[in-house]
Symmetry: C2
Subunit: 301 residues, 2 copies
Protein backbone atom coordinates (compact mmCIF):
# COMPACT_ATOMS: atom_id res chain seq x y z
CA UNK A 1 0.00 0.00 0.00
CA UNK A 2 1.30 3.49 -0.81
CA UNK A 3 2.47 5.35 2.31
CA UNK A 4 0.06 8.08 3.39
CA UNK A 5 0.95 11.34 5.08
CA UNK A 6 0.46 9.83 8.54
CA UNK A 7 2.98 7.06 7.91
CA UNK A 8 5.50 9.45 6.37
CA UNK A 9 5.11 11.94 9.21
CA UNK A 10 5.52 9.21 11.83
CA UNK A 11 8.69 8.06 10.12
CA UNK A 12 10.21 11.56 10.05
CA UNK A 13 9.38 12.02 13.71
CA UNK A 14 11.10 8.74 14.49
CA UNK A 15 14.07 9.65 12.27
CA UNK A 16 14.57 12.80 14.33
CA UNK A 17 14.60 10.63 17.47
CA UNK A 18 17.07 8.16 15.99
CA UNK A 19 19.43 10.87 14.79
CA UNK A 20 19.30 12.81 18.06
CA UNK A 21 19.98 9.60 20.02
CA UNK A 22 22.96 8.75 17.83
CA UNK A 23 24.41 12.29 17.96
CA UNK A 24 23.85 12.53 21.72
CA UNK A 25 25.71 9.28 22.29
CA UNK A 26 28.58 10.30 20.02
CA UNK A 27 28.85 13.79 21.50
CA UNK A 28 28.21 12.84 25.13
CA UNK A 29 25.58 15.56 25.55
CA UNK A 30 21.84 16.04 25.30
CA UNK A 31 19.57 18.06 23.06
CA UNK A 32 17.25 20.76 24.34
CA UNK A 33 13.78 20.52 22.82
CA UNK A 34 11.54 23.41 21.82
CA UNK A 35 8.11 22.54 20.45
CA UNK A 36 6.26 25.16 18.46
CA UNK A 37 2.92 25.63 16.76
CA UNK A 38 2.37 27.20 13.37
CA UNK A 39 -0.44 29.77 13.49
CA UNK A 40 -1.83 28.52 10.15
CA UNK A 41 -1.75 24.83 11.13
CA UNK A 42 0.65 22.18 12.43
CA UNK A 43 3.97 22.78 14.13
CA UNK A 44 7.33 21.29 14.91
CA UNK A 45 9.88 20.04 17.33
CA UNK A 46 13.18 21.90 17.27
CA UNK A 47 16.09 20.17 19.00
CA UNK A 48 19.19 22.13 19.72
CA UNK A 49 22.62 20.93 20.84
CA UNK A 50 25.44 22.83 22.47
CA UNK A 51 27.66 19.86 22.92
CA UNK A 52 31.20 18.75 23.58
CA UNK A 53 32.16 18.37 19.93
CA UNK A 54 29.20 19.96 18.20
CA UNK A 55 29.34 23.64 19.07
CA UNK A 56 25.91 24.45 17.64
CA UNK A 57 23.57 21.92 16.14
CA UNK A 58 19.93 21.87 15.21
CA UNK A 59 17.79 18.85 14.33
CA UNK A 60 14.31 20.00 13.32
CA UNK A 61 11.19 17.99 12.73
CA UNK A 62 8.09 19.70 11.41
CA UNK A 63 4.68 18.82 10.00
CA UNK A 64 2.72 21.83 8.85
CA UNK A 65 -0.40 22.31 6.80
CA UNK A 66 -2.95 24.89 5.83
CA UNK A 67 -3.80 27.24 3.05
CA UNK A 68 -0.99 27.60 0.53
CA UNK A 69 0.57 31.10 0.83
CA UNK A 70 0.26 33.08 -2.44
CA UNK A 71 4.03 33.22 -2.90
CA UNK A 72 4.22 29.43 -2.60
CA UNK A 73 1.36 28.96 -5.03
CA UNK A 74 3.16 31.13 -7.58
CA UNK A 75 6.49 29.37 -7.18
CA UNK A 76 4.81 25.93 -7.44
CA UNK A 77 2.64 26.96 -10.40
CA UNK A 78 -0.38 25.37 -8.78
CA UNK A 79 -3.70 24.51 -10.37
CA UNK A 80 -6.80 26.38 -9.13
CA UNK A 81 -7.98 23.39 -7.07
CA UNK A 82 -4.61 23.11 -5.27
CA UNK A 83 -5.34 25.53 -2.45
CA UNK A 84 -3.94 23.80 0.61
CA UNK A 85 -0.82 21.84 1.43
CA UNK A 86 0.75 19.40 3.86
CA UNK A 87 4.52 19.39 4.40
CA UNK A 88 6.66 17.35 6.75
CA UNK A 89 10.37 16.72 7.09
CA UNK A 90 13.58 16.67 9.07
CA UNK A 91 16.24 19.32 8.64
CA UNK A 92 19.70 19.40 10.22
CA UNK A 93 22.76 21.63 10.35
CA UNK A 94 25.70 20.90 12.65
CA UNK A 95 28.59 23.28 13.33
CA UNK A 96 31.41 21.39 15.05
CA UNK A 97 33.89 22.99 17.45
CA UNK A 98 37.00 21.52 15.90
CA UNK A 99 37.93 23.08 12.55
CA UNK A 100 39.03 19.68 11.26
CA UNK A 101 35.48 18.32 11.57
CA UNK A 102 33.25 19.42 8.67
CA UNK A 103 29.96 21.28 8.86
CA UNK A 104 27.08 19.13 7.64
CA UNK A 105 23.56 19.71 6.37
CA UNK A 106 20.81 17.15 5.83
CA UNK A 107 17.19 17.52 4.85
CA UNK A 108 14.46 15.04 3.91
CA UNK A 109 10.94 16.20 3.17
CA UNK A 110 7.52 15.30 1.79
CA UNK A 111 5.08 17.76 0.27
CA UNK A 112 1.46 17.20 -0.69
CA UNK A 113 -1.14 19.45 -2.33
CA UNK A 114 -4.83 18.79 -2.08
CA UNK A 115 -5.91 17.43 -5.42
CA UNK A 116 -3.39 14.60 -5.10
CA UNK A 117 0.00 15.90 -6.26
CA UNK A 118 2.87 15.03 -3.94
CA UNK A 119 6.63 14.75 -4.02
CA UNK A 120 9.73 13.94 -1.98
CA UNK A 121 12.90 15.99 -1.65
CA UNK A 122 16.09 16.01 0.32
CA UNK A 123 19.83 15.69 0.37
CA UNK A 124 23.02 15.66 2.39
CA UNK A 125 26.00 17.93 1.75
CA UNK A 126 29.31 18.41 3.50
CA UNK A 127 31.22 21.64 4.14
CA UNK A 128 34.72 20.91 5.43
CA UNK A 129 36.67 23.92 6.65
CA UNK A 130 39.71 22.10 5.24
CA UNK A 131 39.05 19.79 2.31
CA UNK A 132 40.50 16.30 2.83
CA UNK A 133 40.14 14.52 -0.51
CA UNK A 134 40.17 11.05 0.96
CA UNK A 135 37.42 11.89 3.45
CA UNK A 136 35.40 13.72 0.79
CA UNK A 137 35.65 10.62 -1.42
CA UNK A 138 34.52 8.39 1.45
CA UNK A 139 31.59 10.71 2.18
CA UNK A 140 30.47 10.70 -1.45
CA UNK A 141 30.84 6.90 -1.57
CA UNK A 142 28.34 6.55 1.30
CA UNK A 143 25.84 8.67 -0.62
CA UNK A 144 26.52 6.77 -3.84
CA UNK A 145 25.95 3.44 -2.08
CA UNK A 146 22.59 4.65 -0.76
CA UNK A 147 21.58 5.99 -4.18
CA UNK A 148 22.78 2.94 -6.15
CA UNK A 149 20.52 0.63 -4.14
CA UNK A 150 17.56 2.46 -5.73
CA UNK A 151 18.75 3.71 -9.09
CA UNK A 152 22.27 3.95 -10.50
CA UNK A 153 21.30 7.22 -12.21
CA UNK A 154 20.51 8.86 -8.88
CA UNK A 155 24.00 9.53 -7.56
CA UNK A 156 25.37 11.30 -10.68
CA UNK A 157 22.11 13.18 -11.17
CA UNK A 158 21.68 14.29 -7.55
CA UNK A 159 25.41 14.97 -7.09
CA UNK A 160 25.27 17.45 -9.98
CA UNK A 161 22.11 18.96 -8.52
CA UNK A 162 23.95 19.58 -5.24
CA UNK A 163 26.94 21.12 -7.09
CA UNK A 164 24.61 23.53 -8.85
CA UNK A 165 22.52 24.32 -5.78
CA UNK A 166 25.23 24.81 -3.13
CA UNK A 167 27.13 27.42 -5.08
CA UNK A 168 28.09 31.04 -4.29
CA UNK A 169 28.26 32.95 -7.59
CA UNK A 170 29.66 36.07 -5.90
CA UNK A 171 32.63 34.02 -4.63
CA UNK A 172 32.83 31.61 -7.52
CA UNK A 173 32.99 28.84 -4.91
CA UNK A 174 30.88 25.84 -4.02
CA UNK A 175 29.70 25.84 -0.40
CA UNK A 176 31.74 22.72 0.33
CA UNK A 177 32.41 19.39 -1.33
CA UNK A 178 28.73 18.95 -2.15
CA UNK A 179 26.86 15.71 -1.79
CA UNK A 180 23.40 14.99 -3.14
CA UNK A 181 20.32 17.18 -3.55
CA UNK A 182 16.95 16.23 -5.03
CA UNK A 183 13.48 17.74 -5.19
CA UNK A 184 10.03 17.06 -6.65
CA UNK A 185 10.59 13.30 -6.93
CA UNK A 186 7.21 11.87 -7.94
CA UNK A 187 6.01 8.62 -9.52
CA UNK A 188 5.13 10.11 -12.91
CA UNK A 189 8.60 11.52 -13.61
CA UNK A 190 10.67 8.91 -11.75
CA UNK A 191 8.91 5.75 -12.98
CA UNK A 192 8.84 4.56 -9.38
CA UNK A 193 5.92 4.07 -7.03
CA UNK A 194 5.34 6.21 -3.96
CA UNK A 195 6.57 3.46 -1.62
CA UNK A 196 9.90 3.24 -3.42
CA UNK A 197 10.42 7.01 -3.44
CA UNK A 198 9.59 7.12 0.25
CA UNK A 199 12.01 4.27 0.96
CA UNK A 200 14.74 6.07 -0.93
CA UNK A 201 14.14 9.31 0.97
CA UNK A 202 14.15 7.37 4.25
CA UNK A 203 17.42 5.67 3.26
CA UNK A 204 19.02 9.07 2.66
CA UNK A 205 17.83 10.16 6.11
CA UNK A 206 19.35 7.05 7.69
CA UNK A 207 22.65 7.52 5.88
CA UNK A 208 23.21 10.77 7.75
CA UNK A 209 24.05 9.79 11.33
CA UNK A 210 26.60 6.99 10.79
CA UNK A 211 28.31 8.97 8.02
CA UNK A 212 28.70 12.17 9.99
CA UNK A 213 29.58 10.47 13.26
CA UNK A 214 32.40 8.62 11.51
CA UNK A 215 33.84 11.89 10.17
CA UNK A 216 33.40 13.57 13.53
CA UNK A 217 35.18 10.81 15.44
CA UNK A 218 37.97 10.72 12.90
CA UNK A 219 38.87 14.40 13.29
CA UNK A 220 37.57 15.84 16.52
CA UNK A 221 40.71 15.37 18.61
CA UNK A 222 43.06 17.02 16.12
CA UNK A 223 44.94 20.02 17.51
CA UNK A 224 43.79 23.44 16.31
CA UNK A 225 46.08 26.46 15.92
CA UNK A 226 44.91 30.05 16.27
CA UNK A 227 45.28 30.60 12.54
CA UNK A 228 43.16 27.52 11.89
CA UNK A 229 40.50 28.77 14.31
CA UNK A 230 40.33 32.09 12.42
CA UNK A 231 40.05 30.19 9.14
CA UNK A 232 37.08 28.32 10.61
CA UNK A 233 35.39 31.67 11.34
CA UNK A 234 35.97 32.83 7.77
CA UNK A 235 34.58 29.58 6.32
CA UNK A 236 31.55 29.92 8.57
CA UNK A 237 31.19 33.44 7.18
CA UNK A 238 30.87 31.91 3.72
CA UNK A 239 28.28 29.50 5.09
CA UNK A 240 26.28 32.51 6.31
CA UNK A 241 26.64 34.18 2.93
CA UNK A 242 25.29 31.14 1.11
CA UNK A 243 22.36 30.64 3.46
CA UNK A 244 21.29 34.29 3.62
CA UNK A 245 21.98 35.35 0.03
CA UNK A 246 21.43 32.26 -2.13
CA UNK A 247 19.57 29.47 -0.34
CA UNK A 248 16.08 29.46 -1.83
CA UNK A 249 14.51 27.76 1.19
CA UNK A 250 15.91 30.34 3.62
CA UNK A 251 14.91 33.25 1.43
CA UNK A 252 11.44 31.84 0.90
CA UNK A 253 10.95 31.28 4.63
CA UNK A 254 12.21 34.71 5.70
CA UNK A 255 10.17 36.60 3.13
CA UNK A 256 6.92 34.68 3.69
CA UNK A 257 6.66 34.96 7.44
CA UNK A 258 8.18 31.54 8.22
CA UNK A 259 9.41 30.67 11.70
CA UNK A 260 12.64 32.69 11.87
CA UNK A 261 14.32 30.75 14.68
CA UNK A 262 13.83 27.43 12.88
CA UNK A 263 15.00 28.83 9.55
CA UNK A 264 18.11 30.44 11.05
CA UNK A 265 19.09 27.44 13.18
CA UNK A 266 21.51 26.78 10.33
CA UNK A 267 23.69 29.79 11.20
CA UNK A 268 26.98 29.23 13.04
CA UNK A 269 27.60 30.26 16.65
CA UNK A 270 30.36 32.62 15.52
CA UNK A 271 31.42 33.68 12.01
CA UNK A 272 33.99 36.14 10.73
CA UNK A 273 34.87 38.37 7.83
CA UNK A 274 38.21 39.90 6.82
CA UNK A 275 38.59 42.31 3.93
CA UNK A 276 40.02 40.55 0.87
CA UNK A 277 41.50 37.54 2.65
CA UNK A 278 44.20 35.89 0.55
CA UNK A 279 45.52 32.45 1.51
CA UNK A 280 49.27 31.85 1.67
CA UNK A 281 50.56 30.19 -1.48
CA UNK A 282 50.82 26.44 -1.13
CA UNK A 283 48.84 26.45 2.15
CA UNK A 284 46.00 24.10 3.07
CA UNK A 285 43.71 27.13 2.96
CA UNK A 286 44.65 27.75 -0.66
CA UNK A 287 44.27 24.07 -1.48
CA UNK A 288 40.80 24.13 0.07
CA UNK A 289 39.73 27.17 -1.94
CA UNK A 290 40.98 25.49 -5.11
CA UNK A 291 38.90 22.41 -4.27
CA UNK A 292 35.61 24.29 -3.93
CA UNK A 293 34.62 23.71 -7.54
CA UNK A 294 31.66 22.15 -9.30
CA UNK A 295 31.98 18.84 -11.13
CA UNK A 296 34.79 17.34 -9.08
CA UNK A 297 34.48 13.56 -9.35
CA UNK A 298 35.19 12.82 -5.68
CA UNK A 299 34.44 9.09 -5.69
CA UNK A 300 36.88 8.47 -8.54
CA UNK A 301 39.50 9.45 -5.97
Amino acid sequence: MAPNREEITAFFRQLQDEICDALSAADGSTFVEDSWDRPGGGGGRARVLRGNYIEKGGVNFSAVHGELPPAAARSLETQPEETSFYATGVSIVLHPKNVHVPIIHMNVRYFELDGGRFWFGGGIDLTPHYVDREQAAWFHQQLKDTCDAYDTDYYPRFKKWADDYFYLPHRNETRGVGGIFFDRLQPATEQKDKRTLFDFTAAVGRTFAPTYIHLMELNREQPVSEAEARWQQLRRGRYVEFNLVWDRGTKFGLTTNGRTESILMSLPPLAGWTYDYQPVEGSREEETLNSLRKDVNWVAG
Copy 2:
Protein backbone atom coordinates in the same frame (compact mmCIF):
# COMPACT_ATOMS: atom_id res chain seq x y z
CA MET B 1 27.10 76.80 -12.68
CA ALA B 2 25.66 73.36 -12.07
CA PRO B 3 28.26 70.91 -10.77
CA ASN B 4 29.32 68.38 -13.39
CA ARG B 5 30.40 64.79 -12.78
CA GLU B 6 34.07 65.80 -12.54
CA GLU B 7 33.41 68.29 -9.75
CA ILE B 8 31.17 65.85 -7.87
CA THR B 9 33.68 63.03 -8.25
CA ALA B 10 36.54 65.23 -7.06
CA PHE B 11 34.51 66.22 -4.01
CA PHE B 12 33.73 62.62 -3.08
CA ARG B 13 37.39 61.69 -3.43
CA GLN B 14 38.31 64.56 -1.14
CA LEU B 15 35.54 63.62 1.30
CA GLN B 16 37.05 60.15 1.59
CA ASP B 17 40.42 61.76 2.41
CA GLU B 18 38.90 64.10 5.00
CA ILE B 19 36.98 61.33 6.71
CA CYS B 20 39.94 58.94 6.74
CA ASP B 21 42.17 61.66 8.19
CA ALA B 22 39.67 62.44 10.93
CA LEU B 23 39.09 58.78 11.82
CA SER B 24 42.81 58.01 11.75
CA ALA B 25 43.51 60.85 14.14
CA ALA B 26 40.69 59.83 16.48
CA ASP B 27 41.61 56.15 16.42
CA GLY B 28 45.40 56.57 16.44
CA SER B 29 45.86 54.22 13.52
CA THR B 30 46.14 54.28 9.74
CA PHE B 31 44.05 52.96 6.88
CA VAL B 32 45.32 50.42 4.39
CA GLU B 33 44.43 51.37 0.82
CA ASP B 34 43.43 48.99 -1.96
CA SER B 35 42.76 50.50 -5.37
CA TRP B 36 40.77 48.50 -7.85
CA ASP B 37 39.59 48.74 -11.44
CA ARG B 38 36.16 47.81 -12.68
CA PRO B 39 36.39 45.63 -15.81
CA GLY B 40 33.51 47.55 -17.46
CA GLY B 41 34.96 51.01 -16.67
CA GLY B 42 36.17 53.09 -13.72
CA GLY B 43 37.26 51.81 -10.35
CA GLY B 44 37.65 52.69 -6.73
CA ARG B 45 39.78 53.22 -3.69
CA ALA B 46 38.92 50.95 -0.76
CA ARG B 47 40.38 51.99 2.59
CA VAL B 48 40.32 49.55 5.42
CA LEU B 49 41.01 50.10 9.11
CA ARG B 50 41.89 47.60 11.80
CA GLY B 51 42.37 50.15 14.49
CA ASN B 52 42.60 50.66 18.23
CA TYR B 53 38.93 51.47 18.71
CA ILE B 54 37.50 50.59 15.33
CA GLU B 55 37.82 46.84 15.02
CA LYS B 56 36.88 46.72 11.33
CA GLY B 57 36.16 49.74 9.24
CA GLY B 58 35.83 50.44 5.55
CA VAL B 59 35.72 53.81 3.81
CA ASN B 60 35.13 53.29 0.09
CA PHE B 61 35.33 55.75 -2.74
CA SER B 62 34.32 54.70 -6.22
CA ALA B 63 33.62 56.22 -9.62
CA VAL B 64 32.40 53.71 -12.15
CA HIS B 65 30.83 53.99 -15.57
CA GLY B 66 29.94 51.94 -18.60
CA GLU B 67 27.05 50.19 -20.17
CA LEU B 68 24.08 49.86 -17.85
CA PRO B 69 23.67 46.18 -16.82
CA PRO B 70 20.26 44.80 -17.90
CA ALA B 71 19.19 44.23 -14.28
CA ALA B 72 19.95 47.87 -13.47
CA ALA B 73 18.09 49.09 -16.55
CA ARG B 74 15.03 47.12 -15.47
CA SER B 75 15.13 48.35 -11.89
CA LEU B 76 15.60 51.98 -13.03
CA GLU B 77 12.91 51.71 -15.72
CA THR B 78 15.19 53.41 -18.21
CA GLN B 79 14.27 54.95 -21.55
CA PRO B 80 15.74 53.32 -24.68
CA GLU B 81 18.34 56.10 -25.08
CA GLU B 82 19.59 55.64 -21.49
CA THR B 83 22.14 52.92 -22.17
CA SER B 84 25.15 53.96 -20.13
CA PHE B 85 25.70 55.31 -16.64
CA TYR B 86 28.16 57.13 -14.41
CA ALA B 87 28.09 56.56 -10.65
CA THR B 88 30.29 57.91 -7.90
CA GLY B 89 30.12 57.97 -4.13
CA VAL B 90 31.54 57.30 -0.72
CA SER B 91 30.34 54.43 1.42
CA ILE B 92 31.31 53.65 5.01
CA VAL B 93 30.64 51.05 7.66
CA LEU B 94 32.51 51.01 10.98
CA HIS B 95 32.39 48.19 13.51
CA PRO B 96 33.87 49.39 16.82
CA LYS B 97 35.60 47.12 19.32
CA ASN B 98 33.77 48.37 22.38
CA VAL B 99 30.13 47.24 22.57
CA HIS B 100 29.16 50.64 24.00
CA VAL B 101 30.22 52.39 20.79
CA PRO B 102 27.59 52.07 18.03
CA ILE B 103 28.07 50.65 14.55
CA ILE B 104 27.63 53.33 11.89
CA HIS B 105 26.88 53.44 8.20
CA MET B 106 27.14 56.40 5.83
CA ASN B 107 26.72 56.68 2.10
CA VAL B 108 26.59 59.59 -0.32
CA ARG B 109 26.28 59.04 -4.03
CA TYR B 110 25.59 60.57 -7.42
CA PHE B 111 24.16 58.73 -10.41
CA GLU B 112 23.90 59.89 -14.01
CA LEU B 113 22.40 58.30 -17.11
CA ASP B 114 23.33 59.42 -20.58
CA GLY B 115 20.42 61.39 -21.88
CA GLY B 116 20.70 63.77 -18.94
CA ARG B 117 18.85 62.23 -16.01
CA PHE B 118 20.77 62.33 -12.75
CA TRP B 119 20.14 62.13 -9.03
CA PHE B 120 21.73 62.20 -5.59
CA GLY B 121 21.27 59.73 -2.77
CA GLY B 122 22.69 58.98 0.64
CA GLY B 123 22.16 58.80 4.33
CA ILE B 124 23.63 58.08 7.73
CA ASP B 125 22.22 55.59 10.20
CA LEU B 126 23.33 54.39 13.60
CA THR B 127 23.19 50.88 15.06
CA PRO B 128 23.99 50.93 18.77
CA HIS B 129 24.46 47.53 20.39
CA TYR B 130 22.84 49.12 23.44
CA VAL B 131 20.40 51.93 22.74
CA ASP B 132 21.14 55.07 24.77
CA ARG B 133 18.17 57.37 24.23
CA GLU B 134 20.08 60.54 25.01
CA GLN B 135 22.84 59.70 22.56
CA ALA B 136 20.33 58.59 19.92
CA ALA B 137 18.54 61.92 20.34
CA TRP B 138 21.83 63.82 19.99
CA PHE B 139 22.70 61.83 16.86
CA HIS B 140 19.33 62.57 15.27
CA GLN B 141 19.68 66.23 16.20
CA GLN B 142 22.93 66.48 14.21
CA LEU B 143 21.17 65.03 11.16
CA LYS B 144 18.18 67.29 11.66
CA ASP B 145 20.43 70.36 11.87
CA THR B 146 22.10 69.42 8.59
CA CYS B 147 18.74 68.78 6.92
CA ASP B 148 17.04 71.89 8.29
CA ALA B 149 19.67 74.13 6.71
CA TYR B 150 18.34 73.00 3.31
CA ASP B 151 14.69 72.14 3.81
CA THR B 152 12.72 71.65 7.01
CA ASP B 153 10.76 68.86 5.31
CA TYR B 154 13.93 66.85 4.75
CA TYR B 155 14.56 65.52 8.24
CA PRO B 156 11.06 64.10 8.87
CA ARG B 157 10.86 62.76 5.32
CA PHE B 158 14.32 61.17 5.24
CA LYS B 159 14.06 59.95 8.84
CA LYS B 160 10.94 57.99 7.92
CA TRP B 161 12.65 56.71 4.79
CA ALA B 162 15.49 55.33 6.96
CA ASP B 163 13.00 53.72 9.37
CA ASP B 164 11.33 51.94 6.47
CA TYR B 165 14.56 50.97 4.74
CA PHE B 166 16.65 49.73 7.68
CA TYR B 167 14.07 47.23 8.85
CA LEU B 168 14.21 43.43 9.32
CA PRO B 169 10.69 42.05 8.72
CA HIS B 170 11.69 38.54 9.84
CA ARG B 171 12.73 39.96 13.23
CA ASN B 172 10.18 42.74 13.42
CA GLU B 173 13.10 45.01 14.37
CA THR B 174 14.72 48.10 12.91
CA ARG B 175 18.45 47.69 12.28
CA GLY B 176 19.26 50.34 14.86
CA VAL B 177 17.97 53.78 15.81
CA GLY B 178 17.82 54.82 12.17
CA GLY B 179 18.92 58.19 10.90
CA ILE B 180 18.25 59.57 7.44
CA PHE B 181 18.06 57.90 4.03
CA PHE B 182 17.28 59.50 0.67
CA ASP B 183 17.49 58.50 -2.95
CA ARG B 184 16.70 59.86 -6.44
CA LEU B 185 16.86 63.50 -5.35
CA GLN B 186 16.59 65.51 -8.58
CA PRO B 187 15.69 69.09 -9.46
CA ALA B 188 12.29 68.28 -11.03
CA THR B 189 10.88 66.55 -7.96
CA GLU B 190 12.71 68.55 -5.28
CA GLN B 191 12.19 72.07 -6.67
CA LYS B 192 15.90 72.67 -6.06
CA ASP B 193 18.73 73.15 -8.52
CA LYS B 194 21.53 70.66 -8.97
CA ARG B 195 24.00 72.82 -7.01
CA THR B 196 21.72 72.88 -3.98
CA LEU B 197 21.11 69.13 -4.07
CA PHE B 198 24.85 68.57 -4.36
CA ASP B 199 25.55 70.92 -1.45
CA PHE B 200 23.01 69.10 0.67
CA THR B 201 24.54 65.70 -0.15
CA ALA B 202 28.00 67.09 0.62
CA ALA B 203 26.75 68.48 3.93
CA VAL B 204 25.43 65.04 4.89
CA GLY B 205 28.85 63.58 4.05
CA ARG B 206 30.56 66.18 6.23
CA THR B 207 28.21 65.57 9.13
CA PHE B 208 29.49 62.02 9.43
CA ALA B 209 32.99 62.30 10.91
CA PRO B 210 32.42 64.79 13.77
CA THR B 211 29.18 63.07 14.75
CA TYR B 212 30.62 59.58 14.89
CA ILE B 213 33.88 60.60 16.49
CA HIS B 214 31.98 62.30 19.28
CA LEU B 215 29.97 59.13 19.99
CA MET B 216 33.11 57.00 19.77
CA GLU B 217 35.07 59.16 22.21
CA LEU B 218 32.14 59.28 24.60
CA ASN B 219 31.89 55.49 24.96
CA ARG B 220 35.06 53.77 23.92
CA GLU B 221 36.67 53.46 27.36
CA GLN B 222 33.63 51.93 29.05
CA PRO B 223 34.27 48.52 30.62
CA VAL B 224 32.82 45.51 28.78
CA SER B 225 31.66 42.32 30.47
CA GLU B 226 31.72 38.90 28.81
CA ALA B 227 27.93 38.90 28.57
CA GLU B 228 28.05 42.32 26.88
CA ALA B 229 30.67 41.07 24.43
CA ARG B 230 28.40 38.14 23.47
CA TRP B 231 25.50 40.56 23.04
CA GLN B 232 27.66 42.54 20.64
CA GLN B 233 28.21 39.39 18.56
CA LEU B 234 24.46 38.74 18.44
CA ARG B 235 23.70 42.32 17.38
CA ARG B 236 26.36 42.05 14.71
CA GLY B 237 24.58 38.87 13.59
CA ARG B 238 21.46 40.95 13.04
CA TYR B 239 23.54 43.44 11.06
CA VAL B 240 24.66 40.58 8.82
CA GLU B 241 21.05 39.42 8.43
CA PHE B 242 19.92 42.86 7.34
CA ASN B 243 22.76 43.37 4.89
CA LEU B 244 22.59 39.93 3.28
CA VAL B 245 18.83 39.36 3.29
CA TRP B 246 17.23 42.80 2.95
CA ASP B 247 19.66 45.48 1.80
CA ARG B 248 18.78 46.20 -1.81
CA GLY B 249 22.21 47.59 -2.65
CA THR B 250 24.02 44.51 -1.35
CA LYS B 251 21.64 42.14 -3.08
CA PHE B 252 21.88 44.07 -6.33
CA GLY B 253 25.67 44.10 -6.19
CA LEU B 254 26.06 40.41 -5.37
CA THR B 255 23.62 39.23 -8.02
CA THR B 256 24.97 41.47 -10.81
CA ASN B 257 28.63 40.63 -10.59
CA GLY B 258 29.60 43.65 -8.46
CA ARG B 259 32.93 43.78 -6.61
CA THR B 260 32.29 41.34 -3.76
CA GLU B 261 35.03 42.58 -1.41
CA SER B 262 33.78 46.17 -1.61
CA ILE B 263 30.15 45.18 -1.17
CA LEU B 264 30.89 42.96 1.83
CA MET B 265 33.23 45.43 3.56
CA SER B 266 30.13 46.20 5.63
CA LEU B 267 30.22 42.82 7.41
CA PRO B 268 31.56 42.63 10.97
CA PRO B 269 34.86 40.97 11.92
CA LEU B 270 32.98 38.46 14.08
CA ALA B 271 29.24 37.84 14.46
CA GLY B 272 27.24 35.30 16.39
CA TRP B 273 23.96 33.44 16.50
CA THR B 274 22.22 31.65 19.39
CA TYR B 275 19.00 29.70 18.97
CA ASP B 276 16.01 31.70 20.22
CA TYR B 277 17.93 34.17 22.39
CA GLN B 278 15.67 35.76 24.99
CA PRO B 279 16.85 38.80 26.96
CA VAL B 280 16.48 38.85 30.74
CA GLU B 281 13.40 40.80 31.82
CA GLY B 282 14.22 44.38 32.69
CA SER B 283 17.76 44.13 31.24
CA ARG B 284 19.43 46.67 28.95
CA GLU B 285 19.29 44.02 26.22
CA GLU B 286 15.51 43.85 26.54
CA GLU B 287 15.27 47.63 26.63
CA THR B 288 17.32 47.81 23.45
CA LEU B 289 15.11 45.28 21.65
CA ASN B 290 12.06 47.27 22.68
CA SER B 291 13.64 50.42 21.26
CA LEU B 292 14.24 48.98 17.79
CA ARG B 293 10.94 50.25 16.42
CA LYS B 294 9.92 52.43 13.53
CA ASP B 295 8.54 55.90 14.07
CA VAL B 296 10.29 56.68 17.35
CA ASN B 297 10.57 60.46 17.60
CA TRP B 298 14.14 60.53 18.93
CA VAL B 299 14.75 64.27 18.79
CA ALA B 300 11.65 65.00 20.84
CA GLY B 301 13.53 63.21 23.63
